[in-house]
Amino acid sequence: MSGLIHSAWLIPFFPLLGALVAAAGGRWLKELSHIPVILGIGAAFVVALGLLTPAGPETTTVVYDWLNVGRLHVPVEVRIDGLTTMMLAMVTLVSMLVAIFAAGYMAGDPGYARFFACIGLFVFSMTGLVLSNNYVLTYLFWEGVGTCSYLLIGFWHAKPSAADAAKKAFLVNRVGDCGFAIACFLIWKYSLNHDLSYTVALSKANLDQMPQGVLLAIALLIFWGATAKSAQVPLYVWLPDAMEGPTPVSALIHAATMVTAGVYLVARSAPLISYAPGVLVVVAATGCLTALLSASIALTQNDLKRVLAYSTISQLGYMFMGLGAGIGEVAQVAVVAAMFHLFTHAFFKALLFLGSGSVMHATGGVIDMRRFRGLRHRLPITHWTFAIGALALSGIPPLAGFFSKDDILAALKSASHAAGSRSWEAAYATIYWVAVLTAFMTAFYTGRAYFLTFWGPEKLPSPDDPEAQEEDQAHLSHSDPGHGAASGPGHGGHDVHLGHESPPIMTIPLILLAVGAIVVGLIFSPMTTGWFDHHLEKTFGFERLGHFTHGHAHDWSIPIVGTLAGVLGLVLSGFMYANPSPIPARLAHRLRPLYQASYNKFWVDEFYVYTVINPLRGLARFFYLLDDLLVHNLVKATAWVPRLFGQELLAPLQNGLLQYYAAVTALGVAGLLWILLLMK
């Protein structure tokens, strides 16, 4: 067993190897480029499964000593505890299925090898992030994840919207990285022996000796970093745009590799954050706001992937609500609930995204739900798997989403009793009810997306759709097969066979994920077997988190309320959207301001444009002027001065004359001799 622990480094290594092979051999492998990457991720998955049993809270192993300079000591050390192994198994499994799906979805793309090389690199970064045992390495891989997401979102970089989305993702993430970096510096400064490893930094002795203010600052900064990576208010704006990348990338980002990084970091640092209870409320409130806001945006979006994107943000909000509920003796339960939601969410969200990819495959890259309907007969497998994903996301028992959502609601409810102060209890109670409301909205928009896509009279997109015209005018190159390979999976050929079920290489991952979405809740839930929480208890520092000392009776009102909200939402959406009906339009008309607000995503992007981007642009214009007048000339001067220095001053010294050189040497010796003799 211990041998297996020492080979934990293989988990990031295999995908990296696959990526390198795909990158180096892409020229020869061509349409087979996915094989090394899928094999690499698969091998990593096998190793990750093997690590599940030997994982323990203190199990770490140093792969090698990387940096040892003065007082900065960063070994490449991996930690194999409950949290890590759970994440690893989930990340590698979902990534593998996504990669297999992508092998079918991306077929024929000119950048096939590049795509899979990036996927391998992405999985490498994410597994490295999860495995590393110190903040520096985590930070490095954190940046690696950011870079890979940039590469993949902007995969079709010829498409301006994709390039912009990639840039947006990268820039917004930089804002968060900045917070995480400062947190690292602070930890280095105040940690015992300047040790950045989790073993020391999160130890009780270390946390006890840190000043309270510093702890507060570190906790807030880590959360700041997490808000960007995990798309929380106010830094969530990059995620909806990130679907400009190929759909498997969206699945990867939303389910496995990217947005979970922030949640993971906060969960990993839970022992630290629990020292700063005020931060927990901030975390919960941010999650709550995010969940509500994005759910209400998702209600009205017409773009299937966009609905799913906002639902991811909303579900991430759920996870942060769970993390934030970790107050007092609820702490352990809350963190476990959040991680459990992350775990189940990975399955059904990957499923939903891949399902939408399958739909796009059938519609020739069109994803606007107004342009197709009633696909359930044409795409039976996609339909059924999507339905399972939708049910799971809506939290209908006994699917996965029900159990994890219920755990988070239970944690919130417990927190509203255990927070200690009256105002905090009120806050948590509010958050709880907002969470229930969000659950209802989630079920509603999920149902809407499902019914609009698969029910009603059958309709396939045609170029004559009014929306197609409108879209063409709006953004010239968005998701239309007519624009060639640069948009969506449509490579011209899809026009011919529209409306066909995807090939088995795409449907098999869908089926596997659907099975996962059905069973993982039942198998692992604390309500049933409790395997998941037992496993997570093997995480370093989690035993110090508060947990219920006396038996905790399960509050049956919570699952009932949650299920009711879900069922109600689904039924309502079925009523409104299963068949064409005038109700939605009438409702939209009646509630026009609300509808408009939601449809336009509460103008948050516009808000940023006016408050952040335009002032910055103004500033930039000012600086541009400054630049043009002052800096430009300065730069010219700096380029000119060294040249002047080099050419006018130094070049004559190097005049090519031998005896001159010898004279300089002799003078140099004389000068140095003189200096030395003058020194006393």
């Binding site: 070049a651 190097q654 090519g656 031998l658 005896q659």
Partner: protein, 109 residues
């Protein structure tokens, strides 16, 4: 016998011939003359070495002939240097048809 001439005289002589050699390197235009000047510098060091050997006691654990041995090696090295130097000067002479060191300035800056 050795007291007839003090060590300092040798040292002054060596320093003087060293300086003469250095001046020769700096001032003579002809490359062959520069080569000769370098030889003078090496030989000045040889005088030093031999004089120090003759006037000093070798410390314990040191061979009795160190200075002389160094000098002999330096003489051989000087011979090798001359051979190489003449070769290089000939090579340049073929290109420039001159052996003046201040002509060889095609590279600078």
């Amino acid at each position: 016998m050795s007291h007839d001439i003090p060590l300092n005289w040798f040292l002054y002589f060596a320093a003087a011939s060293f300086s003469i050699g250095l001046m020769g390197v700096l001032l003579r235009r002809n490359a062959v003359a520069v080569l000769m000047a370098i030889e003078i510098m090496l030989n000045a060091a040889n005088i030093n070495l031999v004089a120090f050997w003759r006037y000093g006691t070798p410390p314990q654990g040191e061979g009795p002939l160190t200075g002389v041995m160094v000098a002999i090696f330096v003489i051989t090295i000087a011979a090798a240097e001359v051979a190489v130097g003449i070769g290089l000067i000939l090579l340049c002479y073929r290109r420039w048809h001159a052996a003046d060191v201040d002509r060889f300035d095609s590279m600078s800056g």
